[in-house]
């Protein structure tokens, strides 16, 4: 429900007209307080639509996908006006705007698990983006304020708080981690009505691989801004963004004590090195309707440019060293198919980054070239995600292969990685509100070191099998949420996988890991998406 400001004085006719408009609006949006006209583009490809920010426990972890977008509509459909008032011609400019709404959304998962041996259930993955069957608890709380100022001119404020464990009820301490993820304002309908702009802190992402909690193509967490232009048919858009971030690491930031100024006693903290990374991205996306009224083909081109200025760093007390500037470039693409029915889709991702762009936007390199830059670092990734449902069955798959090389002169080092994973999770839907999923996965990782015990290159391998019975009150479907679920998983790890853990760690000794957990996952109204 939207009302004019309290200090606006209206006569009875005006109030009546306002009531009529409210009724019309209520018909259009379904219920009071609904969001203003949704100008989102055509349906997304399955549950992994663009700009559905999700929380991350680590910069490389991907979170839950968004819900499928509703079919967008640009114009407010005209509905019938109650007979008591008769048809009313309303001047929107005076009476409909501004309109506002507030919404709350959340993504969350809670899990508690045992390893079957008296210990806590732990993630056994060795690859960077492993199966999420044994993931930890995490939640996002999202608040949104939507305002429509004029026809096709709107703004949205999005705030997302991320909450990481541990949970108070688990360790009895008030030590949960909190982070501000989204904190931005977006304006839509600037000038040409296809133009939008935003500024703030934003989880700026595209489509994910749900089973791996991973965004393989575009996933930038920066504080900055961007613009986007959508074509009139909403099938295509181009988006540009620029942002900064600065990891709290001597690679970018160093604070040291110096004598206080003006000969005062004590010390002052001085940022000897302070060099935020500037990241700019460009995205071209096109959806071509195919395969029926709701299906289509999606193609995305993505590019990033990273830049880090030079600086100076304290190497040892009294000794400063130059830190050269760095840069990097990344290009990638995505091709996807979706039917628009039962969240059926498939996406293929390709991505190649060089230099600074070979690292995640919040990652800091460990090894550098002799010139102390990351020029020469490379990362190439191929990813796959897909879902097919033909009730009462469904299967969701995901996987990737990644190769990463540091720019160090020493060709063989532990950070040089070739790795991959493939996961498949078939579902059997038991009626409309329950189901059973099984998961099978294989992951392997080779690092640029020898296992000195075997004298062979380290080649860690895992096989995993899982069983997930669940209750799904919202209906049958792979991506229907919320769910209550039990998780049983068994992971077999080879010698090299065990060699990755320190002495005395159980994971260094056990060949088979068990995971017995119960938990829940939900998402609703998690974030604005579309533009």
């Amino acid at each position: 429900m939207c009302y004019p400001p309290r200090n606006m004085k209206l006569g009875a006719r005006s109030w009546g007209a306002l009531l009529a408009v409210e009724l019309v609006a209520g018909t259009a949006f379904g219920q009071p307080g609904a969001a203003p006209p949704d100008t989102t583009p055509p349906p997304a490809t399955g549950p992994t639509e663009v700009e559905e920010p999700k929380p991350e426990t680590e910069s490389s972890k991907a979170e839950a996908p968004a819900e499928p977008a509703p079919r967008p509509e640009r114009d407010v459909p005209r509905g019938k006006v109650p007979a008591v008032l008769g048809p009313v011609r309303v001047e929107k400019a005076k009476l409909d705007y501004p309109r506002s709404s507030f919404s709350f959304g959340s993504y969350g998962r809670v899990v508690v698990a045992s390893d079957g041996r008296g210990g806590e259930g732990r993630s056994a993955d060795v690859v960077a983006y492993g199966s999420r069957i044994d993931e930890t608890s995490y939640a996002e709380l999202e608040l949104r304020r939507d305002d429509e100022w004029e026809a096709d001119l709107s703004s949205r404020v999005v705030t997302t708080l991320a909450l990481g464990g541990p949970l108070f009820h688990y360790d009895g301490k008030f030590d949960a981690k909190v982070a501000v993820r989204n904190l931005y304002l977006e304006e839509r309908g600037i000038g040409d009505k296809g133009l939008s702009a935003w500024a703030g802190s934003r989880m700026y992402r595209g489509d994910d691989i749900y089973l791996l909690d991973f965004w393989p193509l575009d996933n930038l967490n920066t504080v900055g801004g961007g613009v986007r232009f959508d074509t009139r048919d909403d099938h295509s858009f181009v988006a540009w963004h620029i942002g900064l971030n600065r990891a709290d690491d001597p690679f970018q930031y160093q604070v040291e004590k110096r004598a206080a100024p003006l000969n005062q006693p004590g010390t002052a903290d001085v940022a000897i090195l302070d060099r935020p990374r500037v990241i700019s991205s460009l995205k071209l996306s096109h959806i071509e309707p195919l395969f029926g009224p709701n299906g289509g083909v999606k193609a995305v081109l993505w590019g990033e440019v990273h830049r880090l200025p030079s600086g100076e760093r304290q190497k040892q007390p009294g000794v400063l060293e130059e830190v050269p500037g760095d840069s990097g470039v990344l290009v990638g693409g995505q091709v996807g198919l979706f039917t628009g029915e039962h969240d059926t889709f498939v996406n293929l991702f390709v991505r190649h980054g060089r230099g600074l762009a070979a690292y995640g936007e919040l990652a800091t390199p460990e090894g550098t070239s002799p010139e102390r830059t990351v020029e020469g670092a490379t990362q190439t990734l191929i990813g796959l995600s897909g879902n097919y449902e033909n009730h009462p069955f469904g299967v969701v798959v995901g996987g990737y292969f990644r190769t990463f090389r540091e720019p160090t002169p020493e060709k063989f080092n532990i950070n040089n990685v070739d790795e991959g994973i493939f996961v498949a999770r078939p579902h059997v839907f038991l009626g409309d509100h329950a189901g059973v999923a099984v998961e099978g996965s294989y992951q392997a990782q080779q690092r640029g070191v020898l296992n000195i015990a075997t004298n062979r290159p380290l080649h860690a391998r895992l096989w995993r099998f899982g069983l997930i019975p669940y209750l799904s009150p919202s209906g049958a479907g792979v991506f229907k949420r919320p769910v209550l679920r039990a998780i049983l998983a068994f992971t077999q790890r080879n010698d090299d996988a065990r060699a990755l853990y320190a002495y005395d760690d159980n994971f260094a000794r056990r060949k088979v890991e068990q995971f017995y957990g119960i938990g829940a996952e939900w998402w609703f109204n998690s974030s604005s998406y579309g533009k």
């Binding site: 000794v319 002799p370 002169p409 020493e410 493939f422 294989y442 000195i452």
Partner: protein, 606 residues
């Protein structure tokens, strides 16, 4: 939708998950013999941490401006600068111990490698197994050998003696005895107070004892430390986590007592291994043979040789030779450090199945220090050499069975300085004297060993000042010392008399003043395995005036042959002719030397 091919490619990639080419550095290493004759070799001592930093990724805890901390040198750095060493003319690299050390203790890092904590793992500061293998391979490709420094006498500061039985390592301060003088100003007596550091207590022949104010309480328990941050951890392999693997008698405080020297802990809390225990012996054989098997190294430089009993060497050396020979590696050179001027003691380890050779420490004291640095009488050189050259000398005259095939007395490892003594130029800041000493080093018999940095004129004092970063020199191949060493190395390798010839002193002098022959020392290299090849070295060790090979009418007799024409290799414009009586008179300017060969044998351009 093209599921089929895409999915298959994925699966294949995932299954293999490996695109790295390990360039043959993985898997078993075939071993082979890379040396023909160790007398042809010129050893170069590399302090790995201080030679060259080739990989910044292993530079954790590096503090470059602190001499006793890690500086970042690694195997990659050696590999990248192998051409520097090849051009210098050295042929065998003696590298620091490779095993994992106690990281740091009392503010000093284990950068030198002599504080073993884990015999089975590499020191990650220097690189991993791939990096080490590649460095060894690169050396072998250039005909160079790699010698591993090993320590069997002790490990790092891995446990303390709980003397006061309070369960923590501390320094106990206690009054220790009867009242003694001097008295206080008021006339009352004082009582001495002792500080007993539980990591490093004094030697006790009974073993370190626990005691309280009420008296002794029996042997002090040995408590292994567990601090992963500083890598003070129980040693590996597991035998070294048992107290019986150690002698547990405390630190040597009287180096004149043989028992202390053999059984005592090394100063700094370095725990002495019980090398008489069969399990300890076997473990040491196994770990060090394994390293050779993993890397195809060519020899061992053995630290603290004299601190381990002869019986151990009689077990260790043959076992190593046998196991390596069975896998294709023969001519494996084992030489030890007996840091002592006692010629008989040093030489005692070169008999009966023990080591192939030792560092010629007596020569270091008697010759390098006394003569070349302090202008002592050159007669000392002759007297010292006479103790090894005869059949009843202090050094073995029979090659070790399965060893390098050279009698120890002809394979001594000669040096001017090393990591344990101040550099030559620190004690005598005279480059001419250094050059003269280098001429001596590279022309006498035995195997020369050059300490890194000598070729760059480094002049550091005692440890750690003598462990400078070589990379700060810029690896200057135009440095006068570099060019001099390069020249001498080429000369040595080119004239078989210098590598294989027997040695005979032709002139030595008691005189060190203004006498005509003061400071002269001359010797011939001929015969033996060099056949008829001939070289004559004449050195003037005094730094004040020219001297010659004559005194009071007596001249020098040489074996070159009456009337033979000799040319100075170092200055081919100078030729001399042996008299009809076999006598030869040679004058040499102060702090310089001459090297003569038969004129017909001169190799131009060296």
């Amino acid at each position: 939708m093209k599921h089929g091919k895409t999915s298959l490619a994925f699966l294949l990639a995932f299954a293999s998950a490996g695109c790295m080419d390990f360039e043959g550095l993985d898997g078993e290493r075939p071993m082979s013999t890379h040396v023909q004759d160790w007398r042809n070799e010129i050893v170069y001592q590399v302090m790995t941490d201080r030679f060259a930093n080739g990989d910044y990724a292993n530079d954790y805890r590096v503090v470059e401006n602190a001499p006793a901390r890690y500086h970042g040198g690694d195997y990659r750095g050696i590999e990248e600068n192998i051409s520097y060493l090849d051009d210098l003319g050295v042929t065998a690299l003696w590298i620091s111990p490779i095993v994992k050390n106690v990281e740091t203790d009392a503010g000093v890092d284990g950068y030198h490698g002599y504080w073993t904590q884990d015999f089975t793992q590499l020191n990650p500061h220097f690189g991993d197994l791939l990096s080490l293998r590649r460095m060894v391979d690169k050396a072998h490709e250039r005909g160079m050998k790699v010698i591993l420094d090993i320590v069997v006498n002790h490990v790092g500061q891995v446990f303390y003696y709980d003397i006061n039985l309070n369960g923590q390592p501390d320094e106990r301060v206690a009054g220790t005895g009867p009242l003694v003088a001097p008295t206080r100003p008021d006339g009352s007596a004082t009582s001495p107070v002792s500080h007993v550091n539980e990591y490093d207590p004094d030697y006790d022949p009974r073993g370190v004892q626990a005691w309280t104010s009420l008296g002794e309480a029996g042997p002090a328990p040995v408590v292994f430390v567990f601090d992963p941050e500083s890598n003070h951890l129980p040693p590996e392999p597991a035998i070294f986590q048992q107290p019986k693997a150690y002698n547990r008698k405390g630190r040597v405080w009287d180096w004149n007592v043989p028992e202390q020297v053999r059984l005592g802990d090394f100063p700094g809390g370095l725990k002495d291994l019980n090398t008489e225990d069969p399990e300890v012996r076997q473990a040491l054989i196994d770990v060090f043979v394994r390293w050779v098997e993993l890397t195809d190294l060519d020899g061992f430089r053995i630290d603290t040789l004299k601190h381990v009993e002869h019986e151990f060497w009689k077990t260790f050396a043959p076992a190593v030779r046998q196991r390596l020979a069975a896998k294709g590696k023969t001519n494996f050179f084992m030489f030890g450090e007996s840091f002592d001027g006692d010629d008989k003691l040093v030489g005692s380890f070169t008999f009966g199945d023990e080591v192939d050779s030792v560092f010629y420490f007596p020569q270091y004291y008697t010759v390098i220090r006394d003569v070349f640095q302090q202008n002592g009488a050159t007669k000392k050189i002759e007297d010292l050499w006479n103790q090894r050259l005869g059949q009843n000398g202090n050094y073995g005259t029979v090659p070790q069975p399965g060893g390098i095939g050279i009698p120890p007395n002809k394979a001594l490892v000669n040096f001017l300085d090393n990591h344990d003594v101040g550099r030559f130029l620190f004690f005598k800041n005279d480059p001419a004297a250094l050059n003269n000493a280098l001429l001596f080093l590279l022309t006498e018999d035995g195997i020369p060993c050059l300490y890194y940095g000598t070729e760059q004129g480094f002049a550091g004092g005692n440890d750690p000042s003598n462990r400078e970063d070589l990379w700060r020199s810029g690896f200057n191949q135009k440095h006068p010392q570099y060019e001099w060493v390069r020249r001498l190395a080429r000369i040595r390798r080119s004239y078989p008399a210098l590598t294989h010839g027997d040695l005979k002193v032709t002139w030595a002098s008691d005189r060190t003043g203004s006498e005509s022959d003061a400071g002269i020392f001359a010797f011939e290299r001929t015969g033996g395995d060099a056949g008829n090849a001939y070289a004559l070295v004449v050195l003037n060790t005094n730094s004040s005036h020219e001297s010659s090979t004559e005194f009071s009418g007596a001249g020098m007799t040489v074996q070159a042959g009456n009337g033979a024409s000799l040319v100075n290799v170092l200055d081919p414009n100078e030729t001399v002719t042996v008299g009809g009586d076999g006598k030869l008179s040679v004058s040499v300017p102060a702090s310089s030397g001459k090297l003569f060969v038969r004129s017909a044998d001169l190799i131009p351009g060296l």
